[in-house]
């Protein structure tokens, strides 16, 4: 073998010693199986909790970020919020409340803000939809043809609303995929007529579902309009905005506890799409200024998905730090456990150390011997911990229906940490073993 000349005798000797020392380490750990297992458990749980916690955190964060991204990073969402109840003169039976976004607002955004690419005004109404004898509750979304440009909703069959529909206030609708089965059963919905309130609408297209995100819905829930609240879980039917305005009007009547309450709301939301992502925050300021000027009542709310995303990332960072520190503490505890056991092992084997020293072992031989034992313990614990750490997120996903993402870097991190724990907490006992006086250790009983 020619390569032999490159590998010096020193290297071979080192490898040979390394192998022997490892063998010896395994042997003496094997002699105290229970003790070794219990000690390794600390590392196993530490490592697996690092991996599992990071996987759960990463899964949650990706979930949130994807959902926010679906809201559109270029979008600014302005929503109607019912302002705090004004205290009217007692005994009044009938009130008219007028609030919320208006068509004028949408017009103003278009005229006054330079970076706006498109503006989508939406009107949302809760209604009953009927097909033949089948009735279900739906959310009617009065919108514009370019709605698809600001949302993730895509047409699957047929077409979306067109500008002709808008212009002629056509009685057409586009239904969400989930409604197809609920409302039409096995019939092909395209070309069928659906009765909403008192009018019929022809189905011209089927779209994918709009994202009912956790993040988004938590904001929707703040919306005090009853219709919107229940609308959050209903299937959506898209109808031209002009048609909705014509046929449903802007009033809604609520009767509660003997008083009649009429609300007038023009639009439930306006979504502004900004041309350039750098201008999102600036445009938000302009929108805020405009709204402040024309809405003295606090009847709107501005959501910027980009901000949410930044906040989510910040939250994720804190989450990772917290989880990381908990896991690090558990590894630290595991490490201290290992150090404790190794110190006990060293004092138990004082005599053996003395014998080995008398027979020619150098201090570093002794250090190497005990350090390798600790390393075998922590690295095998680390390997088992990785297996367990992969299994835990698997079960969490399977039974807890929570998304988990195991990143390769977390595996390397966990393994690296267990090796570092092994070296850190193994060095002191090994050092102590090596520095024992051979004469004293030989006398040790």
């Amino acid at each position: 073998m020619n390569w032999g000349s490159k590998v010096s005798g020193k290297h071979i000797m080192f490898l040979f010693r390394f192998k022997r020392t490892l063998k010896l380490g395994v042997k003496s750990l094997w002699m105290h199986k229970l003790r070794s297992t219990l000690t390794a458990l600390g590392i196993i749980f530490g490592v697996s909790s690092v991996i599992a916690m990071l996987a759960i955190g990463e899964g949650a964060s990706r979930d949130a970020q994807e959902k926010i991204a679906q809201l559109g990073s270029h979008n600014i969402i302005i929503k109607t919020v019912k302002p705090p109840e004004e205290q009217t003169a007692g005994g009044q039976q009938q009130t008219l409340q007028e609030y919320g976004l208006t068509y004028a607002d949408a017009e103003r955004f278009r005229n006054a803000i330079p970076d706006v690419q498109i503006i989508v005004p939406n009107r949302r109404v809760s209604q009953q939809a009927q097909y033949r004898t089948h009735r279900i509750a739906v959310e009617v979304i009065g919108t514009v043809p370019w709605y698809t440009e600001i949302s993730q909703v895509r047409v699957k069959f047929g077409r979306f609303l067109s500008s002709t529909d808008m212009h002629y206030k056509q009685g057409v609708c586009v239904v969400e995929e989930r409604l197809v089965k609920e409302l039409f059963g096995f019939d092909n919905p395209l070309g069928q007529d659906v009765k909403i309130a008192s009018d019929y609408y022809r189905v011209v297209g089927i779209t994918t579902e709009q994202t009912r995100t956790k993040v988004a819905s938590s904001f929707e829930d703040k919306d005090a309009t009853g219709a919107k609240k229940s609308g959050a879980n209903l299937g959506g039917i898209y109808i031209p905005l002009t048609t909705v305005r014509d046929r449903f009007g802007e009033m809604s009547l609520q009767i509660s506890a003997g008083s009649r309450n009429i609300e007038k709301v023009e639009l439930q939301e306006i979504i502004v799409k900004v041309r350039n992502i750098d201008e999102v925050l600036g445009t938000r300021q302009s929108v805020q200024t405009l709204m402040n000027r024309f809405h003295k009542k606090n009847d709107y709310e501005i959501t910027v998905p980009l901000e949410l995303m930044r906040r989510a990332k910040e939250f994720q960072r804190i989450f990772t730090i917290v989880l990381g520190s908990i896991a690090a503490i558990s590894l630290l505890v595991g490490g201290i456990g290992i150090m404790n056991i190794m110190l006990a092992t060293v004092s138990e084997r004082t005599r053996e150390i003395g014998i080995r020293r008398a027979l020619g072992a150098k201090k570093r031989d002794i250090i190497f011997q005990f350090l390798s034992e600790t390393l075998i313990l922590t690295l095998s614990g680390g390997a088992l911990g990785i297996i367990l750490g992969i299994l835990i997120p698997f079960f969490v996903t399977h039974f807890g229906r929570t998304r988990t993402v195991i990143t390769p870097s977390s595996l390397f991190l966990a393994f690296g940490i267990s090796a570092a724990v092994g070296i850190t907490f193994g060095l002191y006992p090994a050092y102590r073993a090596a520095n024992m006086d051979p004469i004293e250790s030989l006398r040790h009983e």
Binding site: G4, G9, I12, M13, F16, R17, R20, K27, S28, M31, R351, E352, G354, I355, R356, R357, A358, L359, G360, A361, K362, K363, R364, D365, P438, I439, L442
Partner: protein
């Protein structure tokens, strides 16, 4: 390629293998100075069989530790195999112990988790023998001390005499300059003790240099020279007639 133990240099008879000049060892108990050994002058030649005797507290063990390079003298000089060892550092002392000295202890001091062959391999392990080489030599040595059929046994499965034979085999592993025995028969019944003495005598006849610290007059009788210590000094040296 692998560094082997330098075979014990063939010393002519009467070549001093161990020279001590005015060797002192002091211990400090707080501020009190304990002079355990005072001005020891000693020369031991190759192939000699020396017994060191003396009452307890006379400094026998300390002298043994110094000879065995387990400890460093406070003063004076100690030359082992032509090399001064009084000023060596810990690693170098370990090296000397491993290569030049074979220890036989009163309480055998075998490692319980290792079997007989593995125990004999331990000193060779630290000198860089390969597993194969050291295992082969260990088996030869085990056979030589009459334990050829017990090689896979653990020390705890052997009698005291057998354990001491393993210890002797281990002491011979690196072919040392000196075999240093500390009360080798102290923990044995008389039959086993006699057996061990026979082995030691046999080694002596093969030309090994033996130094034994003992109370056992039996050993003393077998030795060529008896060094009697008292209060940290050599009180007298007696020479037995060669058999």
């Amino acid at each position: 390629m692998i560094q082997k133990v330098d075979k014990a240099v063939k010393f002519e008879t009467d070549t001093p293998i161990l020279v001590m000049e005015k060797l002192c060892k002091n211990y400090y108990l707080g501020s009190v100075e304990l002079r355990v050994l005072q001005e020891i002058d000693l020369t031991i030649t190759s192939g000699e069989y020396v017994a060191i005797m003396g009452p307890s507290g006379s400094g026998k063990s300390t002298l043994l530790n110094l000879i065995g390079c387990l400890d460093r003298p406070t003063g004076g000089d100690y030359i082992l195999g032509g090399q001064s060892v009084s000023m060596l550092d810990d690693d170098e002392l370990s090296m000397i112990r491993g290569r030049r000295i074979g220890f036989v202890f009163q309480s055998f001091n075998l490692i319980n988790q290792l079997n007989i062959v593995e125990n004999i391999q331990v000193p060779m392990y630290y000198q860089g023998f390969t597993e194969h080489e050291s295992a082969e030599r260990a088996r030869e040595l085990a056979t030589m001390v009459g334990l050829g059929d017990r090689m896979k046994h653990r020390p705890s499965e052997l009698s005291g005499g057998q354990q001491q034979r393993v210890a002797i085999a281990r002491a011979l592993a690196n072919d040392p300059l000196i075999i240093l025995a500390d009360e080798p028969t102290g923990n044995l019944d008389s039959a086993s003790g006699t057996e061990i003495l026979a082995i030691l005598n046999n080694l002596h006849e093969q030309g090994k240099t033996l130094i034994a610290v003992t109370h056992d007059e039996g050993i003393a009788e077998g030795a060529e020279r008896i060094i009697r210590l008292l209060d940290g000094r050599i009180k007298k040296q007696e020479y037995n007639k060669r058999k």
